[in-house]
């Protein structure tokens, strides 16, 4: 990416932060909070997610056969099925239906698939009046804007803005002000258009092959009217919406509303088996009793391929087809909460999973527009009701985008700094720099403090910003001359293996080893205080840095090296203890893709987050009084790390603080916004700060402002220091018996 492109991107993000950010933030935070509350009411939440996942896996596996079964069922019911190869094919068929019905007006309920087709434009070209009846979609139709969210398309607009829009467009006798007035106005106006429509078009959240039923999840009631009032019903749906049987719907009904907008169930879950038995509501025959009608309803199911069958064959994009478009991944995403789908989205789809959809249906270029906004924080993974590894899809697509570019201008200056394993020289130089961070850190440490003086010089920052887009407003981490590994080698262990209760290997992640050596030393002292024999072997970077830049081959190589460096220790029964949660997440999650299964399992089972390990030691009789306790330690404002929470190990930090009598106040934001290298990038600096501000607000409240700021992740510490202008430390530094922190 050139400097100019980065600036344009930064401008666009700044514009959205200013114009749409507040409305998006308020709404997504509300949905996200609602999700936590409503899934907590489900006793069997995890089991339901697994069941839903299994149904989708099975359905996509058997998709060709289910399409055949569904086609037979719908035809036996008296409907028609058309399997469209692509958008143009689907639109041609739908236009023919409109033409055959001499349709003047088609009313629609909300359907993202119809947005993917751009069917409105196709019909309008033929003179058909297309009316969106979902109130959010209608607002956008009036405003001529694109949806900014999968479920709540006008999430970026406030009540005031909608009122202004309606008052300008429709000039009502009395100006509209409140949401209530706006809703009544829209209901009346759209109600009249619906009863006068020739065709109703809906999407489908699910389709059952055994009965030919559509499941539609709505709250407004417009989908019910759209499907039932006119005598012709066209439903458009991606082929991935098919599930084998009606009974398969149950877990999805329980999960979809909770996951999306935090409602345990929406007002209406329509289970329609068209052509339906309900009478047509025809105001041209307004005095004929509904019961006396003998309607001959017409139903067309337009199933859309448009790249989906190819996605099914793609080992990495296939999971996208399990998506039920609930929007949980968007609502839980720190970046999405700040900018919404007009930045975090492609031609049609928005939010984390949009990368998979856009790459699959519109092509990689569309995904490339926003794919970098996924920082891999992984908060969406536990929110997803079908357990999709959304960050992995983003990483794979990023890797593919890296490989197809031709932006290799800096290659010659760069080769020393970026000894990666990627097989083309086409990766963006910024990504190569951050992906090869370990090399940079080694060099910086070896030449410290000169490297730090240089890095702080104005002209150097200017060059860094121009060439690789490191924002000059960010303070750069300072390298230590003596690494943790070197320090430990000369110091040696203080608890001998013979006297030890346990033996542990402290993994020297890049940041701890070269930059925040103090937290590594604190970790050693804490472990030794609990009679653990410690080793700090020179094991390399986990692969997190290259992976975050979409450099999968480099990450894969690093994973093998790390495993080689730890295998002997694991065989000897030593526990691997990890300070940096993002590296532990590599060991526990992504390494499954890089290592043989037995190696992955062995490392996963033998590795622990440092506070998880401290907790285990304390539970097994270690003397907590040898650590610094809350009696003389400071009151703490604690932010756990996003990936730490996804792994479910944040609870150990909480438990250790509690056991040792610390007074702790905890943040509840999803992500600090720094996310490794993300917040250093010039094009994302302001977005990163906006996300960080949510955290800063919590820690500047009166009850938090005098507390010691503590965070488990490297980048969280950096971010907190930048947004609060207060020092931030790792929990293990608080517990360090030598700690003087207040």
């Amino acid at each position: 990416m050139s400097g100019g492109t980065r600036e344009r991107k930064a401008d666009h993000i700044r514009y959205l932060l200013e114009t749409e950010g507040d409305a998006v933030e308020a709404n997504t935070l509300g949905f996200n909070e609602g999700r936590y509350e409503s899934v907590a009411d489900l006793e069997n939440y995890e089991a339901l997610k697994s069941e839903a996942r299994a149904i989708k896996e099975d359905a996509i596996e058997r998709l060709p056969e289910l399409i055949d079964e569904l086609t037979e069922t719908v035809e036996a019911n008296g409907g028609t099925v058309y399997l469209a190869d692509d958008a143009a094919d689907a639109n041609r068929y739908i236009r023919e239906i409109a033409d055959e019905n001499d349709a003047e007006r088609l009313v629609k309920s909300k359907s993202m698939t119809s947005e993917e087709l751009e069917v409105n434009e196709a019909l309008k070209a033929d003179g058909v009046d297309v009316v969106e009846t979902d109130l959010g979609e209608w607002v956008l139709q009036v405003a001529d804007e694109a949806p900014s969210h999968l479920v709540a398309p006008a999430i970026h607009k406030s009540e005031d803005e909608i009122a202004r829009l309606f008052n300008e467009q429709f000039e009502p006798d009395e100006p509209l002000e409140t949401a209530e007035e706006l809703t009544t106005f829209a209901r009346d106006r759209l109600g009249a258009l619906i009863v006068d429509a020739d065709i109703g078009m809906t999407g489908a959240n699910f389709i059952t092959a055994d009965s030919g039923s559509l499941m539609l999840v709505t709250s407004e009631g417009n989908a019910r009217k759209t499907a039932v009032v006119p005598d012709t019903h066209v439903a458009v749906a991606g082929v991935e919406k098919i599930v084998p049987s009606v009974e398969d719907l149950a877990p999805f009904i329980e999960l979809i509303g909770r996951s999306g907008t935090g409602q345990d169930i929406t007002s209406y879950v329509s289970l329609l088996t068209p052509p339906v038995d309900s009478p047509v509501v025809d105001f041209d025959e307004s005095d004929v009793a509904l019961a006396d009608r003998d309607d001959d309803r017409d139903f067309h199911l337009v199933l859309i391929d448009n790249g989906r069958m190819a996605m099914r064959e793609d080992d990495h994009l296939r999971e996208t087809l399990y998506c039920i478009r609930c929007s949980a991944c968007a609502n839980t995403c720190g970046n999405f909460q700040s900018v919404g789908g007009h930045a975090f989205g492609g031609e049609t789809y928005t939010g984390g999973i949009a990368t998979g959809w856009e790459a699959g249906v519109h092509g990689q270029e569309s995904a490339a527009e926003f794919n970098d906004l996924c920082t891999g924080c992984s908060r969406c993974v536990e929110a997803c009701p079908v357990e999709i590894d959304i960050p992995w899809i983003n990483t794979v697509v990023r890797d593919r985008i890296n490989r197809e570019g031709d932006d290799g201008r800096f290659e010659f200056v760069y080769d020393e700094l970026v000894p990666d394993e990627e097989d083309t020289g086409s990766i963006d130089p910024q990504k190569r720099l951050f992906g090869n961070y370990e090399t940079l850190a080694k060099l910086g440490s070896a030449t410290a403090p000169v490297s730090n003086w240089l890095a702080d010089l104005g002209p150097v920052r200017s060059v860094l910003e121009r060439t690789v887009g490191i924002d000059r407003r960010r303070s750069l981490p300072a390298f230590e001359r003596e690494t943790l590994v070197d320090w430990f080698e000369s110091r040696g262990p203080r608890v001998s293996a013979a006297d030890a209760e346990r033996e542990a290997v402290l993994y020297p992640d890049t940041y701890t080893n070269y930059i925040d050596v103090d937290r590594g030393k604190a970790a050693v002292r804490v472990l030794e205080a609990m009679d653990v024999h410690v080793r700090v072997p020179a094991v390399g970077e986990s692969g997190r840095a290259p992976l975050s830049q979409g450099m999968i081959a480099t990450a894969d190589t690093k994973a093998s090296r790390v495993y080689a460096g730890l295998a002997e220790h694991l065989d000897a029964g030593r526990d691997v203890v990890v300070i940096e949660p993002s590296d532990l997440a590599m060991f526990h999650s992504e390494y499954e893709k890089f290592l043989p299964e037995a190696s992955f399992e062995r490392l996963r089972e033998g590795s622990y987050e440092i506070l998880e390990y401290v907790y285990g030691c304390l539970e097994n009789g270690a003397n907590g009084a040898r650590l610094r306790t809350g009696d003389d330690g400071p009151d703490v404002a604690y932010h756990s790390h996003c990936q730490q929470r996804t792994m479910g190990v944040d609870r150990y930090t909480r438990a250790v603080f509690e056991t040792l009598d610390y007074d702790v106040l905890e943040s509840d934001v999803e992500c600090c916004g720094m996310a490794g290298s993300f917040g250093y990038k010039q094009e994302y600096y302001e977005l990163s700060m906006d996300v960080g501000d949510r955290l800063a607000e919590q820690f500047t409240e009166p009850e938090a402002q005098d507390r010691l700021v503590v965070a488990s992740g490297t980048s969280c510490e950096d971010q907190l220091e930048d947004v609060l202008e207060r020092d931030a430390v790792h929990p293990v530094e608080v517990l360090d018996p030598r700690s003087r922190l207040r």
Binding site: L135, S158, E180, R187, K225, V246, E247, S267, S278, L290
Partner: protein, 174 residues
Amino acid sequence: MSAESGSVRNRFEEALADRDVALTRTTPAAFEATLQAVVTEPVVGTPLPFGDVSLPEWVDDEPTPATLEAATTGVTAASFGIADYGSVVLPSTPEGSEPVSLFPELHVPVLHERDLVADMPTAIERLGPELRDGGSAIVATGPSATADMGALVEGAHGPNAVHVVFLETDGDGE
């Protein structure tokens, strides 16, 4: 009635109360009077399939588009209720239960106490054969609503209020 079905009924009533959806219990003998107290005229409805009750004469049970549009209340039978969610399952019928439950401001579903199921999987199991037989149904929970205009509003394209009439039979110990 077993202790278990009693608790299912409690769960149903609590779920409705959580959503501020009104429920009135009645018996076949008191049905007409109860309905009269619940509805606002003009009232349209579709025939009730319960045997022990039917719609009173003052309910228009053969609505046309014109009377449907003019109606303030729609009365329809619920096939069954789902206790966990406070949902009523509304069948689509040739008499027009779907539009009658949808167009008027107030929807009054009549639910027979024997037709209460505990949870969603049981409800969907019960619906499976009906849908495979060509039937359609709406799982309706509370009034229609939208948040698309910047704040939550009850009453979007569908009713803005739901009042469940819960029909208890005299022979409670069946």
